[in-house]
């Protein structure tokens, strides 16, 4: 599997680097990836379905315990097969859909990179590689939604999708880290086998990430916007595969999550039901065929999320079957809409007319796939939904009733979709061009597959069962063409009948949705909330920048000083408890300290530059005295020498400057900052002096000074022998400074003289 994933990466890079001359061959090259995936799946399927997962392991950084761990069990194999089959279909379709152009290879490369990343998500056993592949799909989704980069709408939709799923991904990463920490393993298989206790926050964060990726309410707003992507991308990413990543993940983790938390199932149930109803309801209001499908996808994702996230074997079985069914019929419908769009130039149900007469095969495709979506008997959609209903019946009537209500909405928007696409136009109708080739036959094939599986579900039964066993340990369901007279059949046929009766009265439905919309549209929309959040974020960043980026040096320095004090105080104050105040030193220190303090305070008050120089000298000489009084004769000597030199330098420079300082106003902020710094230094000193944990390395220097370096003055020996390279660096600094001074001043002085 690893080689297949790498193959996708190589194909993407190859197409990118050959984009100037690959022309119309971009998609034929790209399709190698999905075809290889299908080949691999067929090759490995017998062993995996028999219950032997395929494990691949590649050491990456053994020292850090980082490795690529792939584990393909039945559950992963189902998604691998879906990515391969739908991916191959869509690449063939794309080859016909796009007119060759300079940007088409970029699209093909992004799509094939996405397919590889998606395979990575479903086959990785290591949480970190799941995250990396997860974010790769976010990035490729961003590129694909924003493919039409001259459209502001497409760019903003791409940003919306990337921000929501990216933020969700970060939350998920946090959850992964907590989970791995609690369970002491990065491997999903370990964590599912031995679920860590007490990791409630981790589960919540992972759930947020999964919900954002699978467009669950209230984070679903990005998915309809993502329809700005070219139709093949929408069919692949935003219905068949990427949005199922969240479903995939909750399906994997829900048995462990429900075992360790008592809130997981109620929360997943609430999210799923809300998403189902919101998506179905919104789909009933759309006039754009693609948006209608997008909201339909939101609704279906809610259903899948609920089933997969339940951790209940019977529901997991239904989830697995529905993932397959939904992938087939929804991608067929999207591609059919793309075909209709390219034949008529519109997707507006008010303007489409006569499409069925002119394009009979597209009509047949759409009706077949739509029948699967509405779960009409003899389609795979029906078989899968029947399996799901069968499981739901065991979980209580209330739950089935809610799902049946969502199913009614599904049937109703399916009817709206078909009537809109093929029924009479209410607005000025468009003409229909003839189209043919892949654009017609690829969706036909996908829809046909749904029909064949609906009649012979046994073809995928081993796959579905091994997938269900892989996550829930049990194949607690059945795939049958006709379930017999069971309660589940009643629910599913009942919702079909009610839905069809709604289809029969489209005007009444429109009136009701419009009436409700006048109320609901007054509330905040998800798109509006996202915009407001984004504007708030950018505005906040602007205000923050304007506050700190004032251009004033004193403000910058004060900010730095206060930040240091604030950050440093937190650990320091904790240490202050056991600190004792040191004693007063030798008596000679008192007059010296007085000299230093009086000179320093004088520096603050004086307005004469020369007085300042003298006072600075006072500070320096006073400190030299303090060094001398505390066993530092070398320090004292150096201080005196340097101070003298500095005074001379100051005098030379200030000779050229006015004699007085400008009057500077005292400011409260400045005083407070200074007091804070002074206090910080005092506390730091008190704590530091008490914090020695090891003897000073100086003991070694003192011992070795005479024998090794033949010097009695240990400070000098350290500087010129033990640490001579440091001193070389110091001298270099001096030399550079000298050069700098010369370069800065000499030309000016020369000009002044001449």
């Amino acid at each position: 599997m690893l080689s297949i994933i790498l193959l996708h990466g190589l194909l993407a890079l190859g197409i990118l680097s050959a984009r100037r001359f690959i022309g119309r061959y971009a998609f034929p090259v790209a399709v190698i990836g999905p075809l290889a995936t299908i080949g691999w799946a067929i090759w490995r399927a017998p062993g995996i379905v028999d219950g032997t997962p395929r494990v691949e392991r590649l050491e990456w950084v053994p020292g850090l315990d980082l490795s690529v761990e792939l584990l393909v069990d039945g559950y992963a194999l189902l998604f691998v097969a879906l990515v391969g089959v739908v991916g191959a279909a869509i690449f063939f379709y794309s080859a016909a859909y796009f007119r060759p152009g300079p940007r088409v290879p970029l699209f093909a490369a992004s799509m094939v990179a996405f397919a590889g990343a998606m395979l990575g998500i479903v086959t990785s056993d290591h949480l970190l590689s799941v995250f990396i592949f997860w974010e790769l799909t976010t990035i490729t989704s961003y590129l694909l939604v924003g493919y039409d980069d001259r459209s502001a709408k497409a760019r903003s939709a791409a940003l919306h999708a990337a921000m929501v799923t990216g933020a969700g991904g970060l939350a998920m990463l946090g959850g992964f880290v907590l989970l791995a920490d609690a369970g002491n393993s990065w491997l999903i298989s370990d964590l599912v086998a031995n679920p860590p206790g007490g990791a409630g926050l981790a589960w919540l964060l992972v759930l947020i990430g999964a919900a954002s990726k699978s467009a669950q309410a209230p984070l679903h707003g990005w998915l309809p916007g993502a329809m700005a992507a070219p139709t093949p991308a929408s069919a692949f990413l935003h219905s068949a595969t990427m949005v199922k990543a969240g479903v995939f993940l909750v399906g994997r983790l829900s048995p462990a999550a429900t075992a360790e938390t008592d809130w997981w199932w109620p929360v997943v149930l609430t999210i799923g039901v809300a998403t189902m109803l919101v998506g179905g309801w919104q789909a009933l209001r759309q006039t754009d065929l693609k948006l209608l499908l997008a909201y339909g996808t939101v609704s279906q994702l809610g259903f899948l999320f609920l089933l997969a996230g339940s951790g209940i074997p019977a529901l997991a079985y239904g989830a697995v079957a529905l993932v397959l069914a939904h992938g087939l019929f929804k991608s067929a419908l999207f591609l059919a809409v793309g075909a209709i769009d390219s034949a008529t130039g519109t997707r507006d149900i008010r303007r489409l007319e006569g499409v069925g007469r002119s394009l009979p095969w597209v009509f047949a495709t759409t009706v077949t796939a739509a029948a699967s979506m509405a779960a009409v008997p003899a389609t795979f959609g029906f078989v899968a939904k029947e399996a799901a209903f069968d499981g739901l019946v065991g979980e209580g009537t209330g739950l089935v009733a809610i799902v049946a209500l969502a199913s009614v909405l599904t049937v109703a928007y399916t009817g709206r979709f078909l009537l809109g696409a093929f029924g009479p136009a209410t607005d000025e109708p468009t003409g229909v061009d003839q189209i043919g080739g892949w654009k017609v036959w690829v969706p036909f094939g996908l829809a046909g597959a749904g029909l064949v599986l609906g009649l012979v579900p046994g073809l995928v039964k081993p796959l579905v069962e091994s997938a269900a066993v892989a996550i829930s340990g049990d194949a607690a369901g059945k795939l049958v063409v006709w379930p017999g007279l069971v309660p589940a059949l009643g629910w599913s046929l009942g919702s079909l009948a009610v839905g069809l009766s709604l289809v029969a009265v489209p005007r009444a439905v429109d009136a009701v949705t419009a009436a409700v919309a006048t109320v609901t549209d007054r509330g905040p929309s998800t798109e509006g909330a996202f915009r407001a959040g984004l504007t708030g974020l950018l505005g906040g960043a602007d205000r923050l920048t304007a506050t700190f980026q004032s251009g004033s040096l004193p403000t910058y320095l004060a900010t730095i000083a206060l930040a240091v004090v604030a950050a440093g105080s937190i650990p320091l104050l904790g240490e202050l408890g056991g600190v004792e105040l040191p004693s007063l030193g030798p008596a000679i220190e008192i007059p010296l300290a007085l000299v230093v303090s009086i000179s320093a305070i004088g520096l603050l008050l004086t307005r004469r530059r020369f007085a300042a120089v003298i006072l600075l000298g006072g500070v320096g000489y006073g400190i030299a005295g303090i060094y001398a009084a505390n066993g530092g004769p070398d320090l004292s000597l150096t201080q005196i020498l340097v101070e003298t030199l500095a005074i001379a330098l100051f005098a030379l420079v200030l000779r050229n400057l006015p004699a007085d300082f400008d009057r500077a106003r005292a400011s409260i902020g400045r005083i407070l900052t200074s007091v804070a710094v002074a206090g910080f230094v005092f506390v730091a000193g008190l704590v530091a002096v008490d914090s020695r944990t090891a003897p000073s390395v100086a003991e070694y220097y003192v011992e070795e000074s005479l024998p090794s370096a033949a010097g009695k003055n240990v400070v000098n020996v350290i500087l010129v022998d033990f640490r001579a390279m440091d001193t070389l660096g110091e001298i270099t600094v001096l030399a550079v400074a000298t050069l700098g001074v010369a370069a800065l001043v000499l030309p000016l002085l020369r000009r002044k003289q001449s």
């Binding site: 004032s550 220190e589 300290a593 340097v642 420079v653 020695r692 009695k712």
Partner: protein, 114 residues
Amino acid sequence: MSITILALASGLAGLGTYLILQRLLTRIIIGLGLISHGANLLIFYASASTGESPLIGGDDALADPLPQALVLTAIVITFAVTALLLALALRSYLLTGTDAVEDDREDRRIGGAE
């Protein structure tokens, strides 16, 4: 080591901070000098070692020579920095007629104030 030294270190750091938060380069340089003195005293104080000058030969305990070597280096480097800053102040005065640091207009523009 005595509290006098720590008090001096903290006082010099505070006064130096007050000075560098102004606009005249001369004052800023003096402030920087005071902060450096304060930092040197703090290192000296934090060594927490009292004793005779670190010269081999006596019988008494020696003061820790390592902080002294560090401070010695710091004194010299501070001098180099001071010299460079003084040259900047002089250049600024000779070219613009003042040694005050004006607001950075580019920064203000980025911040949106202009």
